[in-house]
Symmetry: C2
């Protein structure tokens, strides 16, 4: 009988699942999508192949779950970053956002993202989640940048900021880009101050959801 009747006394099961998902994400970061085989994942997780197949009957199942897991992790990491952010200090905010988009979780997401382009099944798993955490990121950026979305053009400007940062993250995946990124972002902070008006000291980044 499914989990409905029997309450999962086995936390162990959950733990195994999680080990597998973490390992899958880790493999994506370290070996890329092409280099991530199910065998490798189970080895990295310290889980037998049998157990792996028990939890995730197929590779697609594993990856779909990994996508979901990663989305959660990404959201948490972002909220955490936002929480310890000196709100209103736009250069710092930009730098913190950029850090998030150059971190391992971003690399993993990037792999899934690109792979999903040509894999319909993966795409079906990735696209909706990406939309969700896109909105979440937008909200957080809005608050952290002390931007008022009711002002026309502000929405687009914040989106542009996030797209810019995504582009910087992509560039950083190939070559370490820290110095250039810092210059570009500082320049952009100038622009934002001019376009959005100076940030009021009041605003505190509020991790929404």
């Amino acid at each position: 009988m499914p989990t409905s009747t029997r309450v999962p006394q086995e936390e162990r099961s959950r733990a195994t699942r999680l080990r597998l998902l973490d390992a899958a994400v880790g493999c994506l970061v370290e070996f890329g999508y092409a280099g991530t085989s199910t065998t490798l994942v189970s080895e990295r997780a310290g889980v037998s192949r049998g157990a792996q197949l028990h939890h995730f009957p197929s590779k697609a199942d594993l990856l779909a779950a990994a996508v979901e897991h990663l989305a959660t992790v990404r959201g948490e990491e972002l909220i955490e970053r936002a929480a310890r952010l000196p709100a209103g200090d736009r250069p710092k905010v930009l730098r913190a956002l950029a850090e998030h988009f150059t971190s391992p979780v971003f690399d993993a997401a990037l792999e899934l993202w690109v792979a999903a382009r040509t894999d319909p099944e993966l795409r079906a798993a990735v696209a909706p989640l990406e939309r969700r955490i896109g909105r979440q990121t937008h909200r957080i950026a809005l608050a952290a940048l002390a931007a008022d979305e009711s002002v026309p053009g502000t929405r687009e400007l914040v989106q542009a900021t996030l797209d810019l940062i995504r582009g910087l993250g992509l560039a950083d995946a190939l070559t370490d880009d820290t110095r250039r990124r810092a210059r570009v972002l500082d320049r952009w902070a100038e622009v934002l101050d001019r376009e959005l008006g100076p940030a009021p000291r009041s605003a505190i980044a509020q991790p929404t959801s």
Copy 2:
């Protein structure tokens, strides 16, 4: 004896090589890096496996050559786009650049880019070329946007523009993003007009190299 002594009377050889490289790029676009096997490439090229291995002894050789080939193609496409560009019309310029970064050649480059992150050999092939066409793109953007790099901050702003467009290209790889992209770019054009000053009607985009 190597090509030095015997002048390659065999154009055919060149043609075969090119068919293979085009096929490789095509496979990247259609099936992604993970789905691009050497067998598939030779089939798509209509070239026997033997011939393929004659020209490119290993998969790494093939891909390295494909990287180079793609860089050339990308450069040519960009120059061509730039040539038929109404210089000074910044919204149009941005749209044209964005189109380039959402075209198949970009998709192929994206695949190689991401794969290179975790494959040192591929990275060694990709990184220097990427730097080169990065500079080329920057020059073209500079001219097309009628930006004066001697003005402090202009360089960074143009870089930001290209990073933004890269980010938009990445977003578009996953989901069709045309409408949102147009809005964001129009907003960006506003910012550029304010920051760079209005574009003089004189400037003509000059495809430098």
